[in-house]
Symmetry: none
Subunit: 210 residues, 4 copies
DNA sequence: CATGAATGAGGTTTCATTCAT
DNA sequence: TATGAATGAAACCTCATTCAT
C-alpha cells in the first residue's frame, strides 16, 4: 500500500533543535505504546506526549507507519548490533564461549528496556514492520552462522539450519518469558538456562568426530 | 475498555443453519486476514466474504474483537489441546519419548494451517488477545510440566522453569521458521532438530544422579 | 493521482431511499458551491446541507472528486445532450435553420440553471474534471460537424475546424455573458446575436459556389 | 473573507535583489502550477522551486491568494494591455483593419505563453480572482467598444453589446482551442478564422445604411 | 533580511456499530 | 431473522502562516 520509500524520514534534522524534537517524538511513541497499547497509539497522542504539534511530527515522519518503523528499527537494530558484535568478537572460540557470549549479549540488549521490547512485539506485524523484522532476523542469523563456522571444537552439516534453531530458540525463550510478565530480574536468570539449551543442542548437533 | 464478557459470542447457535453461518464468518475472517492483512480486516469485508450481511455478523459476535478472539481461540485452542493430549498420553515415559511426542503434536497442530498460524501472529497482540494467549500459554506449560514430573529417567530442580524453556523454545523455533517464509514442508523437517534441542537440554538440566 | 475508476459512484441505489439520498447529496453540493464557493466546499458541509452524515455521502461517492465529477457530468451532460438532439433533428436543413436550432438548444440548456452553470465553471478544472469537460466538448463538436456536413446550402473545406469555431464561440459568448453577472433574462436576448454570429461566419466560411 | 487590500503585494521591491526574488517567486508559482496542478500548489513548494524560503515568500506576498493574484494579474494584464493598445492604434480605421489588428494582438499575447494561459484558467475562479478577471474583462470590452464607435464604415445600435459578443467569441475560441490540447502552432492558424468570425458578424450587425 | 521549524485548524476518509425495514 | 443504509466519532494528514533565531 504504502511504497517502501515512504517509510524513510522526511528530513534529516540539521539544527540541534530538530534533533531533540525527533528524539522526543520517538520516545513519546514508545510511551504512548506502553500506556495505551498499539490500537490507541495515534499520531495526535504521540505528538501531544512529545510536547509538539502533529504538524511537527509530520515534518519528520511522512506517516504513522514510518514513525513506528523508526522506533522498531532503533530497538531491534540495537539488539542485532549487539548480537553481531558478540559474534564477531568470538570467532574461533570454543563453542561454550561462543554460546555464552551471544546469549549474554542478546539477552542484555533486550533487557535494556524490557517494557519496550514487549510493547514492540505488538508493533512488528504491521505490514511494513514485517519486512523490517525479516531483515533484522537475517542479519542476526548470518552473524551466528558465520561465527559457528569458525568453532575449533565443532563442525556442522548445515550451519544455517543449526544457527536458525539456536537463534529462534533464543528469541522464543526471551519473548515467552517477557510476555509471561516475568520481572526483568527473573529474565536475567534465564540466561544460564538459555546457554545450556543452546550449548547442549550444538553439542548434539555437531558432526561427531570432534 | 471492552469488558471481558463482551468477548463471548452473542448466541449459541442452536439451529444447524446458525452453526454454518458462524463457521462461515470465522473462516471468512481468516480469509480476509490472509488476503488483506490485519489493518484492512473490517467487519463489513468479513461479512461480505462470508456471504452474509454485517447485521448478521453482529447477531453472532457482539463486536469485532470477539470475532477475532473466537478465531484465535479456535486456532490456538487446537494447538494447545493437541499438546495437552500428547502430554497426557505420555506420562511416565522416558524423556526421549515424551519429547518426541510433544514436539510432533505441537508442530503438526501448527502446520495444520500454516498460513493461518502466521496470520494470527499479527492478531494476537490486540489487547484482549494478549490475555487469551496468556491463558493458552499457561495451559500448555502446565501440561508439559506435569508430564515432565512423571519422567522415570529424570528429575528436575524446577520443573516449571525447565518446562517453560522447552515450551518457549519450541514456540520460538516454529514461529521463526514459519515467519521466515519457509515452506511448511521444510518446517516439518525442523521437527527432528527441535526434538534434539529439547531433549539435549532436558538431559543437561536434569538432576544428575539418574 | 486518483485512478479514473475511483470516480465512479460506489453503489447504485437500489432502494428508493437511497435514490433520494443521492439526489439530495448532489443538490446539496451545488448549493454549497453557490453559497460558499469552490474552496469552501467540503464533504462535511455538503453532507450537512443534504441532511445526512458524511458517512452516508461516502457510501455513494468514493471521494470528493467523484462527487464533483457527478455533479459536473449531470449538468454538462444535459447541455451536450440538448445540443446533440438539436443537431440530430436538423440534419439536411438550411444553415440558418440549423444555427438557430442549435443556438436555441444550447443557450436554453445552459440557462436551465444559470447559477449552476456559473458555479461549475470553477469546478471543471479540477484535474479529472478536465478530462470530463474534454469528453463532453468532443461530443458536442462531433454532433455539430456531422450536422453541418448535411447542409444543402453550404459545403466546407474543413468542417471540423468550422464546427469548432462555431462551438467555441457559442460557449465563449454564453460564458462571458453569464460571468459578467448579466441576468439570465438578458442572456436570453443574446441568442439572436449569437445566431447572427454563427450564421454570418458559416456563410463567409463556406466554399463559395453555393 | 480576505479583505481586498490583502491582495496587494507587501513591499514594493526597491532593491534589485528584491525584484529578482519577486520575479523568481512568480515564475516558480507558474512552474509549480504547470507541474503539479492547482490543488498541489503550496506556498512551500513554490518557495522551494524559487530557491528561497517560505519566510521570504511571505515577505513579498501577504498570503497565497495574493501570489496567485499577482501571477494572474501579470498574465491577463499583458493580454489586456496588448488588446487595448491594438484598439487605440486602430481607431478610425475600416472595420476589417480593426478586427484583424485586435485578433492578431489578442491571440499573439495569449500565445506568448500558451501553457501558462491554460494553467491559469484553473486559477482564475479562486474567489478573488473572479473580481480580477471581471476587471480585466471590462477593460478589454471598453477598449473594443470605443474603437468600434470610431469605425468609418459602420455604426451600431448597441456598441457595448456588439463589442461583448466579439470579445467573448474571441476569448471562447482561443480558450476552447487551447484547452483542446491543440499545439500553439495550430492555434495561430485559427487567427484567420477568428477574424472572419468577428468581421462577418460586425458586418451583419451594423446598422444597414452604410 | 532570510530562514525553516513549529503550529494547529480543518479537511478527507474509514469503519464499528445500530436499527428501521 | 436477515438486511444494508445510515451514523458519526475519530483517525490520518496537509498546508497557510508565524516568529525565534
Amino acid at each position: 500500500m504504502i511504497p517502501a520509500h515512504a517509510l524513510n524520514r522526511r528530513k534529516t534534522p540539521v539544527q540541534a533543535r530538530s534533533a531533540n524534537t525527533v528524539a522526543a517524538i520517538s520516545e513519546a511513541a514508545i510511551q504512548v505504546l506502553l500506556a495505551h497499547g498499539r490500537e490507541r497509539l495515534t499520531t495526535t497522542r504521540v505528538a501531544e506526549r512529545a510536547g509538539v504539534s502533529v504538524g511537527t511530527l509530520y515534518q519528520y515522519f511522512p506517516n504513522k507507519q514510518s514513525l513506528l518503523a523508526a522506533v522498531l528499527q532503533e530497538h531491534l537494530g540495537k539488539v542485532m548490533k549487539a548480537t553481531q558484535r558478540a559474534c564477531a568478537e568470538h570467532h574461533e572460540q570454543p563453542l561454550a564461549t561462543m554460546v555464552e557470549a551471544v546469549v549474554q549479549a542478546f539477552v542484555d540488549a533486550k533487557l535494556q528496556r524490557p517494557d519496550v521490547s514487549v510493547a514492540l512485539y505488538a508493533v512488528a506485524p504491521d505490514l511494513q514492520g514485517a519486512a523490517l523484522s525479516q531483515r533484522l532476523r537475517k542479519g542476526g542469523l548470518a552473524a551466528i552462522a558465520s561465527m559457528l563456522t569458525t568453532a575449533p571444537d565443532a563442525r556442522f552439516d548445515d550451519v544455517q539450519a543449526v544457527a536458525s534453531i539456536v537463534y529462534f530458540a533464543m528469541i522464543g525463550v526471551v519473548r515467552g518469558t517477557l510476555e509471561s510478565g516475568a520481572p526483568p530480574r527473573f529474565v536475567r536468570g534465564v540466561k544460564k538456562e538459555l546457554a545450556t539449551l543452546c550449548l547442549s543442542y550444538l553439542m548434539a548437533a555437531k558432526v561427531c568426530d570432534h
